[in-house]
């Protein structure tokens, strides 16, 4: 059934051409930066830069849009829970107290609201770079690139296979789910009880795991029969080389990262919700 073979979307943007290892490095540095700061300014900056980068990456709009909606919904739920469970968390962090609302003794503070906003910005600012990494990286090129920076090729190939068969498993999941839904075992809107939905979902794991195991067996045989693992080295049809552009990108991202981290260490701000 699979027509796509992977999550990779063909294109020839700057990011498609960037060496996959460099993309991985940027993704890691970006994530560390996001988690190091609890700062409104940083969140806005990273989100803005991320969105700008995303607009150049030629990723289909509807895929990006759906994921953004999903993350925003997740953030909203997360935000509501924080405000309900720890309404004075922002107050503790900032040492300031500004009462916004007092609903029958339940107090909502400005600081906590800002804390929730900053946290949401953090999650959101991770999304563009993750999208770029997943959708512009050709799995085979990624594997070949990881191998070229010293990762054993068998391990590198594992990443390739995971990326490669993820959509297949997804399709299989759909098929199995449909077959069950047709005989009344649904975990969609058809089923009113939430508990039953979860129970039904676990039920279809058995055929899904069976089919995945079967698939692994056939792939292993196919790879064995075509000499995978014969030598200590292998060459790559989709070989990637480090270009000047890649090296410049590495230097620039390391420099910016160093700048951010030294700022963090020098000023050691735990929580900032002010723009200026």
């Amino acid at each position: 059934m699979s027509k796509f073979g992977s999550l990779y979307v063909n294109g020839n943007s700057f990011f498609h051409k960037l060496n996959p290892s460099v993309k991985l490095l940027i993704f890691i540095l970006w994530s560390i930066t996001v988690f190091a700061f609890l700062d409104l300014r940083m969140g806005l900056l990273l989100l803005a830069v991320g969105l700008l980068m995303l607009s150049y990456a030629q990723i289909p709009f509807n895929i990006a849009r759906n994921l953004f909606i999903a993350v925003i919904i997740f953030n909203l739920i997360n935000a509501i829970f924080i405000v309900l469970i720890a309404p004075d968390y922002g107050v503790k962090l900032s040492g300031q107290e500004t009462l916004l609302l007092n609903i029958a003794g339940f107090k909502i503070y400005f600081e906590t609201c800002m804390y929730v906003l900053v946290i949401s910005l953090k999650y959101l600012s991770l999304l563009p770079i993750a999208l770029i990494f997943i959708f512009t990286t050709h799995p085979s090129e990624f594997a070949s690139s990881l191998n070229s920076i010293g990762l054993p090729y068998k391990l590198a190939y594992t990443f390739n296979i995971i990326f490669r068969y993820f959509p297949d498993i997804q399709n299989e999941f759909k098929t199995i789910a449909y077959a069950q839904a047709a005989r009344g075992i649904s975990f969609g809107k058809d089923e009113k009880s939430f508990l039953k939905r979860v129970k039904n979902l676990f039920g279809i794991m058995i055929p899904l795991i069976n089919s995945a195991l079967f698939r692994i067996d056939s792939i292993t045989n196919a790879m064995d029969l075509r000499s995978f693992g014969k030598k200590t080295k292998r060459t790559w049809y989709n070989q990637t080389k480090f270009t000047k552009k890649d090296i410049i990108c590495v230097i620039v991202s390391l420099a910016v990262f160093a700048l951010f981290i030294s700022y963090k260490i020098l000023f050691s701000i735990t929580f900032n919700y002010k723009l200026f």
Partner: protein, 570 residues
């Protein structure tokens, strides 16, 4: 005297996990450049022989080996799977999982990548090998987007890069529509002719394989070789009939016509046309006109309509319609086959009928009631869908639990469930096994479990996707007898298939879909005389039509006479 390139001497093999030997004292010699067909029933050990040739045994599947096997001066079990793969190239049955690369080019290069061939040399060889199989224009394409026949070509190119002396094919025709199958058979013939490579094919579709000019047929049964010979020798020996393996249809006709194939001394039995001589022609002519034949033997069906598809269109993507204005009716108790090429929308059609997908336009009626807007859950109780692979439908470990699941989740009372499940188990002949775990059942029995679990819901229509794929003739016949018993109870059965035998032997009507349109809706025997329809739908003419032409008999008469004989013998 030539030296054999493959030689089994008193060779036996036992899988680690089994008590009994799967191969028992095999003796077989295959010479360079030969085309050899290994055939037999499911579980006969034919695939095990193939796995011994390509090194899967003993390197991936371990076990005990006795006796000797030499492949081109190599003793496979004493070397490594890599050494063997240089000598023996394998084209696997499961087309989709044998693709490892993400593009045709990358997949073709896989074996060279593992051999650390430098990039420029690799790219050149990829193009060379793809040209050999006529696929050089598809270099950048995703292998998944190719047709079944093209996939086979690409996997062959990938094998050719390592220049093996021997090519082994594991059921190359499984999952292929008839025309693509014919194409692959032709390709095997060409490769053998051009390169002189030794070809070993394991396949149970004998009639189609014979078209590539097989030199030697090896019949395996119960782990032993029971017959080796030229196609004519093996066909005339009657071994296939004895073992219950499907013979070419023209051989079937000759038997019905009272021709003793063993005594006739026909020099070449490998195709319908080459088998014909004057004596045979006369016998077939008198068979056709014999008085037992009664065109009205085909039984009349109840006239009440079970399902009506009215002008249904569907597309996943607005620019590419998958189905265009499809209309047809199915009566109660009818068995209808839907025929067509892979990817013409046959599965989409079954999803539309079942309710998994909603049509863009058009209506679907169950009896006289319109059900286009019914929910999947509601429709599922009236229209059951049986998927090709039972393993992707069964969710419970025990047979009884699996059958009870549907009714339980619909909230029926306990005594109704017990009653319905008992009835379904009995219809499916699974009653004695009701407390067994599903894993202990054969493939055909699992298939019955999936049907049983649908039957508990008392559907009016059952759709089966490739119901007989992967079953040998014996289980196929048993299974189809069971399907007939369902239709006798008034259930309308839709079989989605590209098995032409199935259409001819068991269905009352065939609907042919090509490029998303219905191009024919008629009695199967009539459809198989319409060359233009067959060509458009990527179906293939039955050897019966060739036989009819060679004997100078009307095609439809021969086919319907043949069906009548079949019907009488079932």
């Amino acid at each position: 005297m030539k030296q054999p390139i493959i030689k089994f001497e008193n060779f036996s093999f036992k899988y680690q996990s089994l008590q009994e030997y799967t191969l028992k004292s095999i003796n077989l010699e295959i010479f360079e450049g030969e085309k050899v067909l290994i055939t037999g029933r499911s579980g006969s050990g034919k695939s095990t022989i193939l796995h011994c040739l390509n090194g899967i045994i003993p390197f991936a599947n371990t076990g005990d080996i006795e006796g000797d096997l030499t492949i081109s001066e190599l003793e496979p079990h004493k070397t490594s799977i890599f050494e063997i793969s240089k000598k023996v190239g394998t084209i696997l049955q499961d087309q989709d999982s044998q693709f490892i690369g993400m593009s045709v080019g990358e997949d073709t290069a896989f074996s060279m990548e593992n051999d650390a061939v430098p990039l420029d040399k690799m790219k050149q060889k990829v193009v060379d090998c793809l040209s050999l199989v006529g696929m050089e224009k598809f270099l950048e394409r995703n292998p998944y987007e190719l047709s079944g026949g093209q996939k086979q070509r690409v996997s062959l190119a990938g094998i050719l890069t390592s220049s093996p002396e021997i090519l082994v094919f594991d059921e190359p025709l499984a999952n292929l529509d008839p025309a693509s199958g014919k194409n692959v058979v032709q390709l095997i013939k060409e490769i053998n002719k051009a390169s002189g490579k030794t070809i070993v094919v394991v396949e149970h579709r004998i009639e189609e394989m014979l078209e590539c000019g097989i030199d030697k047929v090896v019949v395996v049964d119960n782990g032993q070789i029971v017959k080796i010979g030229t196609p004519s020798e093996v066909l005339s020996s009657g071994i296939f009939e004895k073992l219950g393996i499907r013979e070419p249809l023209y051989i079937d006709v000759m038997r019905y016509a009272g021709i003793d194939i063993g005594k006739e001394k026909i020099s070449d039995l490998s195709s319908a046309v080459s088998s014909i001589n004057d004596n045979i022609k006369n016998k077939i002519t008198s068979y056709i006109s014999s008085s037992q034949f009664n065109a009205n033997q085909i039984k009349k069906h109840e006239s009440e309509i079970a399902l009506k598809i009215d002008n249904v269109s569907f597309s996943y993507d607005k620019n590419k319609p998958v189905l265009k204005n499809i209309s047809f009716e199915i009566k109660k108790g009818e068995i209808v086959t839907v025929l067509g090429n892979n990817g013409t929308g046959k599965s989409t059609l079954s999803f539309l009928i079942n309710g998994i997908l909603k049509p863009d336009s058009g209506k679907i009626f169950l009896g006289t009631e319109e059900i286009t807007h019914w929910s999947l859950k509601k429709r599922g109780q009236e229209i059951g869908l049986i998927m090709q692979n039972p393993n992707s439908m069964i969710v419970k470990g025990m047979i009884l639990d699996e059958l009870e699941l549907g009714l339980k989740s619909l909230g029926h009372p306990k005594d109704t469930i017990t009653k319905e499940v008992e009835a379904a188990l009995k219809i499916c002949e699974l009653w004695p096994y009701r407390n067994w775990p599903v894993s202990a059942l054969s493939y055909g029995q699992k298939k019955r479990v999936t049907i049983g679990s649908i039957l508990t819901l008392k559907p009016k229509v059952i759709i089966m996707d490739e119901p007989t794929a992967g079953q040998d003739l014996m289980s196929y016949k048993l299974f189809m007898k069971f399907v007939k018993s369902l239709s006798a109870q008034g259930i309308a059965v839709i079989l989605i298939t590209h098995d032409l035998y199935l259409a001819v032997e068991y269905s009352t009507r065939s609907i042919v879909i090509a490029d998303g349109e219905k191009i024919a809706d008629d009695k199967p025997c009539a459809i198989f005389t319409m060359s233009n329809i067959l060509r458009r739908a990527n179906l293939k003419e039955l050897s019966l039509t060739n036989l009819a032409d060679a004997a100078g008999i009307d095609r439809e008469t021969l086919i319907s006479r043949f069906i009548a004989s079949k019907g009488a013998s079932l």
